[in-house]
């Protein structure tokens, strides 16, 4: 069999050749295009988020935030650095809610589009897939959304996040329900969906509840796509004061629908993320009323802001642009751009950014504290929340008359928490 021998030789040759080549060939830097673009007088900004796939909803929420920032900045002439203004140009890529696709997208943005810096993904999974590539090319990214505590424990140098992780934000609402309402909650049931963010939320609720001496009567993590009626039926039987849910907007809608259809009304629902999205309120109508949540931002807050003027003005601008009240993810995404602008102004770097300037940008981001309509943004430089925003105070919110009202902690509340909440029939 001559054929076999030829194959063997070929494979052996190839094997040795490729081992040799992969040894000597380091990552290929495509710096060739840099010179041709040297006179680019605008910032190229990459946006990598989920524009399709499982997290398409949240992905678009982040995009709205990023877009509004870019449009506003450009309308005002651009980012001011020194005495000149530089516009921004957004480059988009769809991570399709998949880490590998996200990684490909970032590789392209960095090497082909040569973006100066990036706005990050909606999901924590994509963020984890993308971050190592940014380490390789030394390009900073701030995500306006990913909330899984896992990301910050990895200590990526070039990845930042403007929303605090859920293990921080989950604490406020539980504490409000226990300590700041009349006849505070005594028992709680916690359910969560088995994805990274939702599970972390459920764990945070449970840990905080136990710490505050609540009795956790049920704790269950369910796979995505579960029908919630049996679980809610079982929880109805246990009759806890609070039903806490870790999940996204769809989960929350389905839990509320299941509870309503079984005639179950605990003294309070606690749901964290998703209840602040317009879809939750639009779709559930009065059933969405009085639901408690954790957040770091609502449109009621009064912060002053350099770009928009104030929180109120930002909210008006966002509503005019997208037709919906912005939620805290959208707002965080919009505020993210301001952090970049401030850091760039501080180091006085003009586009296109060189590798050295990007390093300076990261240093500036680490040390900067920016006051925005979203509140102060201040990235931690050590600990479990490395590079996550720790400048904000976790808030308890409750939906009252279709608006997110801050009901705790007591020193910042704008409305009193309503507890126990009225039953389904009394609305």
């Amino acid at each position: 069999m001559k054929f076999k021998t030829k194959w063997t030789i070929m494979v052996v040759v190839l094997l040795s050749l490729s081992l040799l080549l992969s040894g000597c060939g380091g990552p290929k830097q495509s710096d060739d295009g840099k010179n041709a673009e040297a006179e680019r007088d605008y910032f190229k900004v990459g946006v990598i988020t989920s524009l399709s796939g499982a997290s398409v909803y949240g992905g678009n929420v982040t995009r709205r935030g990023y877009d509004l920032w870019a449009e506003t900045v450009n309308a005002q002439g651009g980012i001011e650095i020194g005495d000149k203004q530089y516009k921004v140009e957004m480059v988009y890529a769809d991570a399709a809610s998949d880490p590998a696709t996200g990684a490909d997208a970032v590789e392209r943005m960095v090497t082909t589009d040569e973006v100066d810096f990036l706005f990050g993904p909606y999901t924590s999974g994509v963020t984890l897939g993308v971050a190592p590539i940014l380490e390789k090319y030394k390009v900073p990214m701030i995500t306006g959304s990913a909330e899984s505590p896992l990301i910050w424990k990895q200590k990526f140098k070039y990845t930042f996040g403007s929303i605090p992780a859920v293990d921080l934000t989950g604490s406020a609402p539980v504490s409000t329900l226990v300590n700041e309402v009349e006849g505070g909650a005594k028992t709680i049931a916690v359910i969560g969906v088995n994805d990274a963010f939702s599970k972390a939320t459920a764990e945070a609720f449970k840990a905080n509840a136990e710490q505050l001496g609540l009795e956790v009567v049920k704790y269950d993590i369910v796979p995505e796509g579960t029908d919630f009626t049996p679980l809610v039926g079982a929880i109805k039987e246990l009759n806890p004061d609070v039903l806490a849910v870790g999940g996204h907007e769809q989960t929350h809608m389905e839990v509320i629908k299941a509870a309503k259809s079984l005639g179950f009304m605990p003294k309070a629902f606690l749901m964290h993320y998703g209840i602040t999205t317009p879809d939750f309120i639009n779709n559930l109508g009065t059933a969405s009323e009085y639901v408690f949540g954790g957040a770091v931002w609502t449109s009621d807050l009064e912060y002053s802001d350099e770009l928009w003027g104030s929180t109120k003005e930002y909210v008006e601008a966002a509503e005019a642009r997208w037709g919906n009240m912005p939620d805290y993810t959208e707002a965080a995404s919009a505020a993210t751009g301001e952090v970049y602008a401030a850091a760039l102004a501080e180091i006085g770097a003009v586009p296109p950014l060189s590798e050295e300037e990007r390093e300076q940008l990261v240093d500036a981001l680490e040390n900067i504290k920016v006051d925005t309509f979203y509140g102060p943004i201040d990235f931690a430089n050590e600990g479990d929340w490395y590079h996550n925003n720790v400048g904000l105070q976790p808030l308890t919110i409750q939906l009252q008359n279709g608006e997110q009202k801050i009901v705790g902690p007591s020193d910042v509340k704008v409305a009193d928490p309503i507890y126990p909440v009225p039953g389904w029939e009394e609305r």
Binding site: G225, T229, P230, G233, S261
Partner: protein, 290 residues
């Protein structure tokens, strides 16, 4: 004890919701020998059709059920020849060709819905939404109950058609032996079109209920494809009685595992059961499948 019965009722009602999807799906397999990967997307399109009808007219979504049935039957009747072409123009493995084709269709439908309707979650509110009634201390969700009753009625009607009428005889003949049925003067290509039309009609109507029980969005279909597969396979491909039984079993496993074992094991147990059923009784729990 209350909890037990509540769990039982919840389980029955979960299964009940899927009966109509499963009945159509299984008949589709029985006659066309096609596993439609896009079944969930047809559910989604049905839900969206109702959503827009409701959006523009403000009339209760459930009123549109007959209209949706007719609308999608027409779609099915004219779509089927395309599928038929896929099945017949390849000499081998029609099943596989159809699977790949419908897989392509499912991406197409999902992508189109996403592009046209956007990513938003939408809700269908019917006059039954959020209501419930109590019997002997057990809460029964009105909408789910309505969906189940409707599904059972439609399926019974359907079985009546199949077993008591001439058309049904022809369908069954075509399902049994297409070639012989052809010799007996049965226009099997037309029968196939009618069956596919009925299947789409049923699936789209279920979309109305599923959309109002859960929510309406472009990615909603995946979940139902999964459940439809389960029900149809566990019941025995092509067996309507089996599908009904398997639907109920799906609901009961779902419900009892969630309450008594732990929510995180629901799908693990569900799929293990399905796998074991296939190994032990590949023709389904009633042994009546193909």
């Amino acid at each position: 004890m209350d909890l037990f019965f509540q769990t039982l009722v919840n389980g029955l009602l979960i299964g009940g919701i899927y009966i109509a999807v499963a009945a159509g799906f299984t008949l589709c397999f029985g006659v066309l020998h096609v596993i439609d990967f896009a079944v969930g997307e047809w559910v989604m399109l049905g839900a969206f059709a109702v959503f827009w009808l409701n959006f523009f007219t403000g009339v209760d979504p459930l009123i549109f059920l007959p209209l949706i049935m007719v609308l999608f039957m027409i779609v099915g009747y004219y779509f089927q020849p395309l599928l038929q072409r896929v099945i017949t123009n390849q000499q081998s493995n029609a099943l596989l060709m159809a699977l790949a084709f419908t897989f392509g269709m499912s991406i197409l439908f999902r992508g189109s819905a996403l592009t046209l309707f956007g990513f938003n979650q939408r809700s269908l509110t019917t006059f039954l939404s959020g209501k419930n009634f109590e019997i002997l201390g057990i809460s029964i969700p009105a909408l789910r109950f309505g969906a189940t009753v409707f599904a059972v009625l439609v399926t019974l009607l359907f079985m009546f058609l199949l077993y008591k009428t001439k058309l049904g005889l022809a369908v069954r003949a075509a399902a049994e032996r297409q070639d012989v049925a052809g010799l007996m003067g049965i226009d099997s290509s037309n029968i196939a079109r009618i069956v596919y039309a009925i299947y789409l009609g049923l699936t789209a109507m279920s979309g109305t209920f599923l959309g109002s029980i859960f929510s309406v969005h472009p990615d909603m279909g995946l979940r139902y494809t999964l459940f439809a597969f389960f029900v149809v396979v566990a019941g025995g491909l092509g067996s309507i009685q089996g599908a009904i039984l398997a639907g109920i079993m799906l609901g009961l496993i779902n419900s009892f595992v969630a309450v008594y074992v732990g929510g995180q094991y629901i799908f693990l147990i569900l799929f293990t059961v399905l796998y074991l059923i296939l190994l032990v009784a590949p023709k389904g729990i009633l042994g009546k499948g193909w």
